[in-house]
């Protein structure tokens, strides 16, 4: 027990939690925007892979770090366009298309990787984002180093949450997106394009997911390797449900989740870690996600038209 408290009282633990949460926050916001508009985007896992790969590859080939982020976002938006084209105007199964996009995006990444670096056994490293301390705030005990000594990309993640929330709840565009996910008939009757809104949401959301993936290579691990996303995309889908499709709550869910992840890594070094096999620790995130889904399934306010295709004029 004391080992637990020792961990919780270190600034490095909280800093790690925020760091681990950052890619999740980007991707969760991306999925949230898609689902609020009424589209389940199961391409999230693969899009995170291609975001990770393309961002890293761009930096490796010479663009700056933010150039890498931009390239990743673009890659994500392209796959988002693919997903949206098949599911929105044509109303094809969002489950199957999403899984197809995940498989395609991931395999495209691995194929391109092998094409560009065929002989390499250990992937080359790039110079990642460096921590950017915010003066004065960083001196607050415990919270200071945790929140205000992060990389610029992490600060961007939190900014994205705020922008998403403000847009969804205080702007006409956000209202239209929410309405598209609740009642596309209402949207069409008010002269707006359901197709345009849903496709736009999926494209933008997919771009954010890819940036989440890029965080892994441009900030967390400094290089790209196979299976690096490792199910984070699926966990983000659970986080959207856990956050009841609200940006602030979903962000808190990501932080909570990342906290558990940071905790289990550190617990492995303690006496507990000698007794419990490390695989059990690694299982914790996935089990937690399932528990989160069970917990929220009863109460959550699902967008009423989620996964319901809209066919104009259907009687």
């Amino acid at each position: 027990m004391s080992a637990l408290f020792d961990i919780l009282l270190t600034a490095s633990f909280w800093a790690a939690a925020v760091r681990i949460a950052s890619p999740l926050i980007f991707a969760t916001m991306g999925e949230l925007i898609c689902e609020r508009a009424g589209v389940l985007n199961l391409g999230i896992e693969g899009i995170m892979v291609i975001g990770a790969f393309s961002g890293w590859m761009a930096v490796y080939l010479g663009t700056g770090l933010w150039g890498g982020v931009a390239v990743a976002m673009l890659a994500g938006m392209l796959f988002g366009l693919l997903h949206a084209t098949l599911t929105v105007p044509f109303g094809l199964s969002q489950h199957v298309v999403g899984l197809g996009v995940t498989l395609l995006a991931a395999s495209t990444s691995y194929f391109a990787y092998r094409l560009i670096l065929p002989e390499v056994t250990s992937p080359p490293k790039i110079e990642p984002f460096q921590p950017l301390e915010i003066p004065y705030l960083v001196d607050i005990p415990l919270l200071g180093p945790a929140l205000f000594a992060q990389t610029a990309l992490t600060y961007t993640a939190f900014a994205v949450v705020a922008i998403t929330a403000i847009t969804l709840y205080r702007t006409p565009l956000g209202l239209a997106i929410r309405a598209a996910g609740e009642s596309p008939q209402a949207v069409a009757a008010q002269g707006l394009s359901v197709t345009g809104l849903r496709m736009g949401a999926v494209i933008v959301g997919s771009g954010l997911m890819a940036v989440g993936g890029a965080f892994l290579t441009l900030s967390a691990f400094s290089s790209f390797f196979f299976e690096m996303v490792n199910g984070r995309g699926w966990i983000c889908i659970a986080l959207v449900v856990f956050g009841a499709w609200r940006p602030g709550k979903a962000m808190l869910g990501a932080l909570l989740f990342a906290g558990f992840d940071a905790l289990q890594i550190r617990l492995q070094q303690t006496p507990i870690g000698q007794v419990v096999p490390y695989q059990m620790f690694l299982m914790a995130p996935y089990i937690l996600s399932i528990l989160a889904l069970i917990l929220m399934s009863r109460r959550a306010q699902v967008p009423a038209a989620l996964m319901v295709p809209f066919n104009k004029g259907e009687r």
Partner: protein
């Protein structure tokens, strides 16, 4: 622009669009080969040769198709009932674990008669693994897509733990793998001299049985009804939850047989690389077959051929093996689009 359903699609339309999807896939394959700096036609030729150009290649393809038939059947069965079983990977490993446990200790000494028992045990394991997410769906309304997916990761970690710990092969020289199966409890070859084991035969039998269940039994009728319109099925008195549970048991059991077949037929032991994603590839196999049980056999062989052929082609021509994964993902998306186009017409206004 809007979509208008076509009441009676013509045969030309029903076959034309899927055919166009396949052609487009081949075209994209050529493009990818060219991108890799290889001659497109030669690359395609090498893939075909690697898949079926020799007796060895053909048998390798059929061997690789065997687990895909099982996972394809598992997923086709589940998807037909609108049960999104993405966890075939976990169910496969569950079946493999039980196969090893029963095949190395519990039933050694019984001889070949133990094989059906092991298969049954594997099926039970797979069924139970899928039952969890399905109960969460029926009782709590939790979407099974994410839960079955997450189970895959949990299961893989469990296998890793077991192979490094309780199930570790004492003679294994440190590699994390299980002890080998008792000789007598291995699936025999179909014919002497052929590198094809009875797992393939079992797969064919399973496909036929599933087709029979689906078209001629009340259970198959119920599964189809629930998959097409669960609300109408419930109103008519069909016990929807019970049907979903039975579907889960069937689907999980079939996926587990893939694990059983690979361990007892092909490899003889369990290691972490038992499945290079058979559970996920099964989705492609099932969708390309339009969820038809007999079609699954054909698409499984086709998909296996693409993988086997690409492996061999890659050694010869240097195009990365991931071309196979890309092609199959493209084929999946194009096929879904083609099926949509056969059922709907795009009209103005």
């Amino acid at each position: 622009m809007r979509l208008e359903p076509i009441a009676n699609p013509s045969l030309a339309r029903s076959l034309g669009f899927p055919a166009a999807a396949l052609v487009a896939t081949v075209v994209i394959a050529s493009l990818l080969a060219a991108l890799a700096g290889a001659n497109p036609l030669a690359t395609l030729g090498l893939i075909v040769k690697g898949a079926a150009g020799s007796k060895f290649a053909l048998l390798e393809t059929l061997n690789r198709a065997t687990p895909l038939i099982f996972t394809g059947l598992a997923i086709a069965t589940a998807f037909r009932a609108k049960l999104w079983n993405i966890g075939a990977e976990a169910q496969l490993y569950g079946g493999a674990i039980v196969t090893v446990i029963l095949g190395t200790s519990a039933l050694s000494g019984i001889g070949a008669a133990g094989l059906p028992l092991i298969a049954l045990g594997a099926m039970v394991a797979g069924a139970l693994i899928l039952l969890g997410p399905v109960m969460l769906k029926t009782k709590f309304g939790v979407d099974e897509v994410v839960t079955t997916l997450l189970f895959n990761f949990i299961m893989l970690l469990l296998v890793s733990y077991l192979l490094e710990g309780p199930m570790k092969d004492p003679m294994g020289m440190g590699w994390p793998k299980s002890a080998p199966l008792d000789r007598a409890l291995r699936l025999p070859r179909i014919a002497e001299g052929l590198r094809l084991h009875w797992g393939f035969g079992l797969a064919l039998i399973s496909a036929t049985l599933i087709w029979f269940v689906q078209t001629r039994t009340t259970l198959g009728y119920e599964m189809r009804a629930v998959g097409l319109n669960a609300q109408a099925a419930r109103f008519a008195g069909i016990p929807v939850s019970a049907v979903l549970v039975k579907t889960a048991l069937l689907s999980g059991g079939l996926a587990a047989l893939a694990g059983f077949s690979e361990v007892a037929g092909l490899k003889g032991h369990l290691s972490l690389d038992l499945s290079p994603g058979f559970g996920y590839t099964g989705i492609i196999v099932a969708m390309l077959a339009l969820l038809h049980p007999l079609g699954v056999v054909i698409t499984a062989i086709f998909v296996a051929g693409i993988f086997v052929g690409s492996d061999s082609m890659s050694r010869a021509a240097g195009v990365p093996t991931y071309i196979a994964d890309m092609l199959l993902a493209v084929a999946l998306l194009l096929m879904v689009a083609a099926i949509g186009l056969t059922k709907f017409r795009v009209v103005r206004g």
